[in-house]
């Protein structure tokens, strides 16, 4: 073995850790902004709908995840997907066996529907914030999951709406409204990052996604 090659490896590994930490820091800041916006929007939705209309009491009796996380050697990606080929189900006029190969799986229902048919824009915005927070990445990914064309795209640039409430506005339910964030929305943190790589010398360390 070349003298010094171990040192070089260690240096390279240390740099990798540093870069990963820096990336993590950036992602975390973005996440925090999305969270704040989301909490604010939820408070507004509660104001619109009433306290008890936006709570865990409304959760669906069953839930199918629309977002999952995939790990690979290249990093971690969080991808959204509706879990199957998206064909428009055809009306079958005749009785009898289901079509060959089974009927296409139905896409998971939108959790927004737990809160009613007509939901206030603030609730929809809250959903948008948390979708950006739990990244929804399209495009190539290591998971063998097709991206159906019907996957709702997370609207970007909607930073202006929903942040208009004056700080200190009371939601009316005993829950304080977080101060309106000043920052604009940043893009979701769904890019493949350096995280997830075990230390080359075999020590694994708990890493954030």
């Amino acid at each position: 073995p070349r003298p010094g090659s171990l040192s070089l490896s260690l240096d390279a590994a240390a740099l990798e850790v540093m870069e990963a930490l820096e990336l993590l820091q950036q992602r975390r800041e973005q996440l925090e902004q999305h969270l704040r916006q989301g909490w604010l929007s939820l408070a507004q939705a509660r104001y619109s709908l009433g306290c008890h209309r936006v709570s865990s009491l409304q959760y669906g009796a069953t839930m199918v995840p629309r977002v999952r996380v995939c790990h690979s050697r290249g990093g971690v990606t969080v991808r959204g997907g509706l879990g199957g080929p998206q064909k428009v189900p055809r009306l079958r006029q005749r009785r009898g066996a289901p079509e060959r190969g089974g009927s296409p799986p139905r896409p998971p229902p939108d959790p927004l529907s737990w809160f009613g048919v007509l939901v206030p824009p603030s609730l929809r915005q809250a959903q948008g914030s948390f979708q950006k927070g739990s990244p929804n990445l399209r495009g190539h990914d290591p998971c063998d999951l097709p991206v159906p064309p019907g996957v709702p795209s997370v609207p970007r640039g909607d930073a202006g709406r929903g942040g208009g409430r004056a700080p200190g506005h009371h939601g009316g339910c005993g829950r304080p409204v977080p101060a309106a964030p000043a920052a604009e929305m940043s893009p979701g943190w769904g890019q493949r990052g350096q995280q997830g790589q075990p230390h080359p010398h075999g020590n694994s360390w708990g890493h954030p996604g």
């Binding site: 969270l35 009796a61 069953t62 879990g83």
Partner: protein
């Protein structure tokens, strides 16, 4: 279920969990345990810790989002987790801002360079 990706679990206050569920991470099925926990004042420490350990043990959970305030309450269990997966991410809550000094992952990373800090 291979190739579909793993679940993201979340533990936090009602607003945090509601938000992430709106975002689409939730799984609730009568045959399986839910991948989320809404923690309220009445929630016992034992339940928090048991839920966390349960998520760690599940093969199908790839990431755990946990409010740092909660992680603090069960810090030994969080700090003991040294595997790469599931990834544990401590997040702020409305009432408790994120403090990097308390984050187990960051402490471990610092420990790579300053072993004295790694307890």
């Amino acid at each position: 279920m291979a190739g579909r990706g793993k679940l993201i679990a979340v533990m936090g206050d009602e607003d945090t969990v509601t938000g992430f569920l709106l975002g689409g991470i939730g799984e609730l099925d009568k045959h399986r345990r839910p991948n989320f926990l809404v923690v309220e004042k009445e929630t016992s420490l034992a339940e928090i810790e048991e839920t966390f350990r349960g998520f760690l043990a599940r093969e199908d959970v790839g990431m755990i989002l946990i409010s740092q305030a909660l992680a603090e309450q069960i810090r030994p269990a969080v700090a003991a987790h040294a595997r790469a997966l599931p990834a544990v991410l401590e997040i702020p809550s409305k009432d408790h801002p994120y403090d990097p000094a308390r984050d187990s992952v960051l402490r471990r990373a610092r420990g790579l360079f300053a072993p004295d800090e790694l307890r």
